[in-house]
């Protein structure tokens, strides 16, 4: 009657079915309504001047564009990270509470398929949401760049700068507009949100409540953001040249192994906002690190979930 799926260790197709169902669930929960206020914010940024910006005569007119990018990327980071935590924390405990999980696991569905499917579903929705926000950011930034460039050109011309100098000044402004580097910043936030979703997935496999999952995931998010600072303090010589002790070293190693280092992702995003040079190799490295973190957390989730009783 049917070309039935095997019940092997892992079936990408079955994981895909669960991922698609998760996407449908989140879409029908109207999560994309969050994008409306974000769109308003991005458009509103067009009419918002930074307090230190004093018009085209200021030494760095691109500051305004940097502020625009920082606010957009910051909003994207906040939205994607919170969305990753809340949606992942709600989905699995929700399935357990509703006993929907019983009916799913009583079909020939390996638990790894279920976990990977749920995670892929959340990551897919984050990807679509970030794509929409990215398009909004690029469009609004494009118009803002045009406006600042034109304003600067007029001002420099009025104070007697030469055509070439004006063009150079405008080129400097345009280099802070939409670019591939900026996309790297968006990608870094997407990677980060994906890791956070994997962390929330791990916590939700042993947590007894949604609140605990959300609180713990937020905690790990914060630790991940500051762990490089903590590691620096533990591994390097202290103020008085004191070598870190064995306990400090062990603690530092555990922290760096257990918690993801989000500072790496933040630095790429900061660099993108400042239009600094970011190489393809750096992004490949970041992508590899993301894959590593997600794989580790998913395998840990599987270890916990495979023995879980319902």
């Amino acid at each position: 009657m049917s070309d039935r799926l095997g019940t092997s260790f892992f079936s990408p197709r079955r994981a895909g079915i669960i991922a698609l169902s998760t996407v449908t669930q989140l879409v029908r929960m109207k999560v994309f309504y969050f994008l409306a206020p974000i769109a308003l914010l991005f458009v509103g940024l067009q009419f918002f001047d930074v307090f230190w910006y004093e018009g085209p005569e200021a030494s760095q007119p691109q500051q305004e564009l940097m502020m625009h990018k920082n606010l957009c990327l910051g909003t994207m980071m906040l939205f994607s990270s919170l969305f990753a935590i809340v949606s992942t924390a709600l989905l699995i405990p929700g399935d357990i509470e509703d006993r929907t999980l019983y009916t799913i696991l009583c079909k020939p569905v390996p638990r790894l398929d279920y976990l990977v499917g749920k995670l892929l579903g959340v990551i897919s929705v984050i990807f679509v949401a970030m794509l929409v926000m990215d398009i909004l950011m690029v469009v609004t930034l494009h118009y803002r760049t045009q406006a600042v460039s034109a304003e600067l050109g007029e001002y420099l011309g009025a104070i007697g700068w030469g055509e070439e100098e004006v063009r150079q000044g405008q080129a400097e402004v345009v280099s802070h507009g939409p670019s591939l580097i900026l996309q790297y910043g968006v990608l870094a936030h997407f990677f980060k949100a994906s890791i956070i979703a994997a962390v929330a997935l791990l916590i939700s496999t042993f947590s007894t409540s949604t609140l605990f999952t959300i609180a713990s995931s937020v905690m790990i998010w914060i630790i991940g953001a500051v762990q490089s600072l903590a590691r620096e303090g533990l591994f390097t010589k202290g103020e008085y040249g004191v070598e870190p002790g064995m306990v400090d070293r062990i603690l530092g190693t555990i922290i760096s192994l257990v918690f993801p280092d989000f500072q790496l992702f933040e630095s790429v995003s900061d660099g993108a906002a400042r239009a600094m040079e970011i190489g393809v190799f750096d992004m490949l490295h970041l992508g590899g690190l993301t894959f590593f973190y997600i794989a580790i957390y998913t395998v840990l989730s599987w270890f916990v979930f495979s023995d879980k009783e319902f």
């Binding site: 006993r99 009583c106 009783e309």
Partner: protein, 293 residues
Amino acid sequence: MSEVPAVQVNRLVKDFKGSFRGGGIRAVDEVSLSIAPGEVYGLIGPNGSGKSTTMKAVLGLVKPTAGSCAIFGRDSSKVDSRMEVGFLPENPYFYKHLSAAETVSFYGKLCGMRGAALKARVNEMLELVGLEEARHRRLRGFSKGMLQRIGLAQALVQDPRLVVLDEPTAGVDPTGSRQIRDLILDLKGRGITVFLCSHLLEQVQEICDRVGIIHRGKMVNEGNLEELTSMQDRTEIILQDAPPELLEQIRNLVDQANKGELVSEGHPRSSLESLFLKETIEAESKQKAVSVK
């Protein structure tokens, strides 16, 4: 070679850990049962007696502390054993954002079905449970009875050889309950093995071939329903068109009567409910006696 049982539970034990101060509980204690293919088996017992835990162990949702469970000869902790099983939990909830057809289709896809075969099977299942007209309605607005029926449709979507039903008529009105009962009888007619637990003893009596009575985690009685409910120390004589004088004679000396027609002779039955109460009360008093000693 004897036929492989649809369900085989061997000396199943399930302990649940307590808090730090101890107080662990043995939910299932050395339970064994065997269900033949095509049989309708009812597991009955009071709340907290271990029915659902036994069922969950059969479905691989809990790990046995000791003993084993198998479905058609395959270890039920293995995923592939579930290819032959459909499960309807008590008061099922499904994804409320999906419609009836999408729900059945989702579970069909999980079993590896797709394309025209899946579409045809979804239609067939919705027709079977009488929900064709609600096929595009989201489950959010479904009544308990409708949810139970969609639950049955998803349980049957991959054409399983075994259907496990946990309180299939819980919270369903008498009409819905009757429909579900008829569906179970239909499954029985099609040779599908049914393993159910229910509190509705009359319904169990009506549809089950065999029953097991579980109390405080132990199987206190098990067997063919007719045998279990028959009262061996009594004889029942059913007479048709017997005149009053014959009845009088029978009352005086039945074996000397030569009028009227003796239609049948057999063993009168108590209700399953009486048996259930008797077994559980007896087990309770035995346990009390042991603890007093």
